[in-house]
C-alpha cells in the first residue's frame, strides 16, 4: 500500500480566522496522489473552509487571516505571493450548487480554454467533447451544445460544471458537497464519475453524507469545531475509529 | 505581463470612479460657490422673506418670498391631485386587477412616467389653460390652478408605481391571516395591507412631491409668471424653478441677479435633499418592519 501512497498536498499547522473567529485550528494533513480524500463532520466544522484554502478561494472573502503552510509541488500555496490564478488552473473546483454560466453548454466548457489563450477552434471543440465525455454528459447533450446551460437539469448542470473543470486539465479536483442539491439518481451518477476520475486525478471531497464518504473515498478526515479529530483510511475510520468523537458522529449521536 | 495589465485596468477604473464622485460633489460645490456672493451681499433673511422680486430695477430688489410661496402653493395643489389618484390607482392594480390586467397596467404606468415635462407644459398651455379659464371664468387660464393640475397628473405615475411596489411587497401571509379571521377584502385592505405598506406609500408621495417641486418646464409654460405673493389658486404665479429658467438667459454673469438665481437653485437643491433623505429614512424603517432585511 505504501508504494502507491505518494503525497501530493501537505498541510502544516494551518490556522484560519474569519475576523476574530478561529475557524480552523492547527490542521496537519497529507493528501495522496490519485486517491479520493473525503471530509466529513457537522455543518460549520470548517471542512469547506479548509478545502477552499487548497485553491485560494478564501482570498475572495474579506477580513480573513491564514497561518501555516500548504505545500503543492514544492510551492507554499498559502504564501501571499503564490499566484492564485496558476494554482487554480492546477487545482480545479466543483461547487455545492451547480453554477454554470448563463452561456451555451459549449461555451461553458470552452470558457477555461479561452481564458488560457487557446484560439484554435479544432483543439477547443475536441477538448470540449473529450471533457463532456469524461463527465459522462456527452450523450445527453451532444445534439444541443448551443442550448443555454441553465436549461439543463440540476444533475446535468453539475456534470457540466465537472466537464468545465476537466477542460482546464487540473491535477487536483476539489468537490465541495457536490451532491447537496441533487436527487439520489443524479447523486449516484456523480459518485460513479468520481470513482472513474480518481484514476487520473487527485480528488478531495467535502460531504455531509457519511455513506457517500464510505462509498467513494480512500481516505477520510473527520473534522469537528475547526479541528481535525481523526484522519485515516476510510476502511479504518468507519470500522475501528480511534477517537470517541468520531465514533459518536458516525453512529449518529450528533451532527 | 498579466498582472501588469490587471493593475492598469484597476487604476483606470479607480480614477473613473473618483471622476464620477468629483462630478457628483461638484454640483454642490458650484451651487454654494455661486450663491455665496448674494448671501454675503444682502441680508439673508431679506432675501428669503422679501416680498419684492424686481431683479431689473436699480438697485435690484431680490426677495424670493413670492417665488417660495408660489412653489408651495403649486406643490400643495398638485399633491392634492396626485395623492388620491396615484394611491387609488395603485390600490386598484394591487387589489382588483387580475393577473392579465396587472401585466399590462404596471409597465404602462411606468412607461407613462417617462412622458417629458415639456409635453405636459405644452398640453397645459394649449388645452388645459383655456378650459380652466372658461370653467372658472377667470381672466387667464395660466395660473396656479392649471400648474397644479398639470403637475399633479405628471406625478401620478411616479406615485402609483412606487406605491404599488410597496403594496405588493406586503407578505401574502398578512392578507391570509386577515381573511382567516373573517375580514372581507376592503377591511383587509384598509386595516392590514395599507398600514403595512404605509411607509412605502409615504415614500412614493415624498418622491412625487420632490419631482413636483423641481419640475421646471411645465410651470414655466402654464403658471403665468407673476412674481407676487399669491392669494388664491386663480392668479398667475412664478415658482422658483421657472424663475431660474426664465431669467437665467438675461441675467448678466456675476450680477446680483445671477447669484440670486444660483441661490434659488441651492434652495431647491436643499429642499429635494431633505425630501430624499426623508424618503430614504422611511423606506429603510419600512423594510425592517416587514422583515425584509436592510
Amino acid at each position: 500500500m505504501s508504494a502507491e501512497n505518494i503525497i501530493r498536498i501537505q498541510a502544516e499547522n494551518v490556522n484560519f480566522y474569519y475576523g476574530r473567529h478561529k475557524a480552523l485550528k492547527n490542521i496537519n494533513l497529507d493528501f495522496y496522489n490519485n486517491k479520493v480524500t473525503s471530509f466529513i463532520g457537522p455543518s460549520g466544522c470548517g471542512k469547506s473552509t479548509f478545502i477552499r484554502l487548497l485553491n485560494k478561494m478564501n482570498d475572495l472573502v474579506a477580513d480573513t487571516k491564514t497561518e501555516g503552510n500548504i505545500w503543492l509541488d514544492g510551492e507554499n500555496i498559502l504564501h501571499d505571493k503564490a499566484d492564485a490564478v496558476k494554482i487554480r488552473r492546477k487545482v480545479g473546483m466543483v461547487f455545492q450548487k451547480p453554477n454554470p454560466f448563463a452561456k451555451t453548454i459549449f461555451q461553458n466548457v470552452s470558457y477555461g480554454l479561452e481564458i488560457n489563450g487557446e484560439k484554435n477552434k479544432k483543439i477547443i471543440s475536441d477538448k470540449v467533447e473529450e471533457s463532456l465525455k469524461k463527465a459522462a454528459l456527452w450523450n445527453e447533450v451532444k445534439d444541443r451544445l448551443a442550448d443555454n446551460a441553465l436549461k439543463l437539469s440540476g444533475g446535468q448542470q453539475q456534470r457540466l460544471c465537472i466537464a468545465r473543470c476537466l477542460a482546464v486539465e487540473p491535477e487536483v479536483i476539489l468537490f465541495d458537497e457536490p451532491c447537496a442539491s441533487l436527487d439520489p439518481i443524479s447523486t449516484n451518477k456523480i459518485e460513479e464519475l468520481i470513482l472513474e476520475l480518481k484514476k487520473q486525478y487527485t480528488i478531495v471531497i467535502v460531504t455531509h453524507n457519511m455513506q457517500q464518504a464510505a462509498r467513494v473515498s480512500d481516505w477520510t478526515a473527520f473534522m469537528y469545531l475547526g479541528e481535525l479529530i481523526e484522519f485515516a483510511s476510510t476502511d479504518k475510520i468507519f470500522t475501528v475509529p480511534k477517537e470517541k468523537k468520531t465514533e459518536e458522529y458516525l453512529s449518529g449521536k450528533f451532527g | 505581463m498579466r498582472n501588469y495589465k490587471e493593475k492598469i485596468i484597476q487604476i483606470l477604473l479607480t480614477s473613473l470612479a473618483f471622476a464620477s464622485l468629483f462630478f457628483l460633489i461638484g454640483i454642490v460645490f458650484i451651487l454654494v460657490k455661486e450663491s455665496i456672493p448674494i448671501i454675503s451681499e444682502i441680508n439673508f433673511l431679506e432675501f428669503l422673506f422679501g416680498k419684492e422680486w424686481y431683479p431689473s430695477r436699480q438697485p435690484p430688489q431680490l426677495g424670493i418670498f413670492p417665488l417660495i410661496t408660489a412653489s408651495l402653493l403649486v406643490t400643495a395643489g398638485a399633491l392634492s391631485i396626485c395623492i388620491p389618484l396615484g394611491v387609488g390607482a395603485a390600490l386598484y392594480i394591487n387589489e382588483l386587477a387580475g393577473i392579465k390586467q396587472k401585466k399590462i397596467l404596471k409597465p404602462l404606468i411606468e412607461i407613462l412616467a417617462g412622458i417629458p415635462s415639456i409635453v405636459y407644459g405644452f398640453f397645459g398651455m394649449l388645452i388645459a389653460a383655456p378650459f380652466i379659464q372658461k370653467i372658472f371664468n377667470i381672466p387667464t387660464g395660466l395660473c396656479a390652478l392649471t400648474a397644479s393640475v398639470m403637475l399633479g397628473i405628471m406625478a401620478i405615475p411616479t406615485v402609483t408605481s412606487i406605491s404599488e411596489d410597496a403594496l405588493s411587497s406586503v407578505p401574502k401571509s398578512f392578507k391570509e391571516a386577515s381573511y382567516a379571521l373573517g375580514a372581507n377584502r376592503i377591511q383587509t385592505l384598509f386595516k392590514v395591507i395599507i398600514p403595512a405598506a404605509a411607509s412605502g406609500i409615504s415614500t412614493s408621495i415624498i418622491l412625487g412631491a420632490s419631482r413636483i417641486v423641481g419640475e421646471t418646464m411645465t410651470v414655466l409654460m402654464v403658471s403665468g409668471g407673476a412674481a407676487v405673493v399669491a392669494k388664491s389658486f386663480f392668479v398667475p404665479v412664478r415658482p422658483m424653478t421657472s424663475t431660474i429658467a426664465a431669467e437665467m438667459g438675461e441675467a448678466a454673469v456675476g450680477s446680483p441677479h445671477y447669484h440670486a438665481l444660483f441661490a434659488i437653485g441651492l434652495i431647491l437643491f436643499l429642499i429635494t435633499l431633505i425630501f430624499n433623505a426623508g424618503a430614504e429614512h422611511i423606506s429603510k424603517k419600512y423594510r425592517i418592519k416587514l422583515g425584509l432585511g436592510r
Partner: protein, 283 residues
C-alpha cells in the same frame, strides 16, 4: 350586508381613481397625436425650418436631440459603468462606497434646472465651451450619471457570487472574470438603465436651456462647439417666441408628437427588455 355595500363603494372609488388616471394620461397623448399627426410629413422630418420658423420642417431639431443624447450617453456610460464596476468588484474602502452612494441617492432627485445651472457655471463659463452641443451633452450626461451608476450597480449585484467563483476557480484572472462573465450577465440590467436614461435625456429641456439650445440655427451643428436646436426646446420656443402663433402652434404639435413617440418607444423598449430578462433569470 352593510359591509358588502361599503366594500363595493370602496372598490368603485379605487376603480375610478385608476380610470381617471388613465383618462388624463390618454387625453394628453390623444390630443398630441390627433393634432400632431397631420403635421408630420416627409418634409417636416427632413427639412430645415423656413420663413422665421413658421413653415418647413424640424430636421435640425431632431438631429440636435440625437447629438445631445448620444453625447450624454458617450460621456456618462463609461464613467458610470466603470464607477459601478469598481465599487462592486474591487471592494474599495468604505469611504468611496459611501460617498458615491450618498452622491447618487441625492443627485437622482435634484431638479433638472439645477443641473442646468451647474452646466452653465462649469461648462459654458468656466471651461469656456460656450452654449454648445458639448456643454449640453456634458450637462445631460451628469444628469443621467446617477441613474446609470445605480442601474449598473444593481445589475452587478444581481450577478450571483457563485458565477464569479466558478470563473476564478477555473483559473481566470479577476479582469477575465469581470469581462467574460460578470459584465455579460449584468448587461441586460445595465442596458435597461441606459435606455431609460436615453429617454430621459432626450426629453429634458431645462438643462439645455442655457447650455446648448438655440431657437433657430441654420442647418446642422458643424462642431461640438456650435449651438443646436433640440426638439423639446423647440416646442417651448415655438410657444413663447416668434410673432405668428397661429402658424407656429401646429409645428409645435408636430414636435410634441415626435418627442412623445420617441420617448415612449424608448421607455417601452427598456421595460420590455427588463421584463424579458427578469423572466429569464427566474427560471
Amino acid at each position: 350586508m352593510k359591509n358588502k355595500i361599503v366594500e363595493n363603494i370602496g372598490f368603485i372609488i379605487i376603480t375610478l381613481c385608476l380610470l381617471a388616471t388613465l383618462f388624463f394620461l390618454a387625453l394628453i397623448i390623444y390630443f398630441i397625436f390627433a393634432k400632431g399627426i397631420s403635421v408630420i410629413s416627409w418634409e417636416f422630418l427632413t427639412c430645415a425650418p423656413r420663413k422665421a420658423m413658421t413653415a418647413g420642417g424640424v430636421a435640425p431639431a431632431i438631429a440636435g436631440t440625437i447629438f445631445l443624447t448620444l453625447g450624454a450617453v458617450i460621456f456618462a456610460l463609461p464613467l458610470g459603468m466603470s464607477c459601478a464596476i469598481y465599487l462592486n468588484e474591487y471592494n474599495p474602502s468604505g469611504f468611496i462606497v459611501n460617498a458615491v452612494r450618498i452622491g447618487v441617492n441625492n443627485l437622482a432627485g435634484v431638479p433638472s434646472v439645477v443641473f442646468g445651472l451647474f452646466g452653465l457655471a462649469v461648462f459654458v463659463k468656466f471651461l469656456g465651451f460656450g452654449v454648445s452641443v458639448l456643454s449640453g451633452s456634458l450637462t445631460l450626461g451628469i444628469l443621467i450619471l446617477p441613474a446609470i451608476i445605480s442601474a449598473s450597480q444593481e445589475a452587478l449585484t444581481a450577478v450571483p457570487q457563485s458565477v464569479r467563483e466558478a470563473s476564478l476557480a477555473l483559473g481566470a484572472t479577476k479582469l477575465q472574470t469581470i469581462v467574460k462573465t460578470v459584465i455579460p450577465s449584468a448587461l441586460p440590467g445595465i442596458m435597461t438603465g441606459v435606455i431609460l436614461s436615453i429617454g430621459r435625456a432626450a426629453g429634458e429641456t431645462a438643462p439645455i436651456l442655457f447650455t446648448a439650445a438655440a431657437f433657430y440655427k441654420r442647418g446642422y451643428p458643424d462642431s461640438p462647439f456650435s449651438e443646436v436646436m433640440a426638439l423639446p426646446y423647440h416646442i417651448y420656443a415655438l410657444m413663447t417666441e416668434g410673432t405668428r402663433p397661429e402658424l407656429q402652434t401646429p409645428i409645435a404639435y408636430g414636435c410634441a408628437l415626435l418627442l412623445l413617440a420617441i420617448v415612449l418607444l424608448i421607455s417601452s423598449a427598456a421595460i420590455i427588455l427588463r421584463n424579458k430578462y427578469g423572466r429569464y433569470y427566474v427560471s
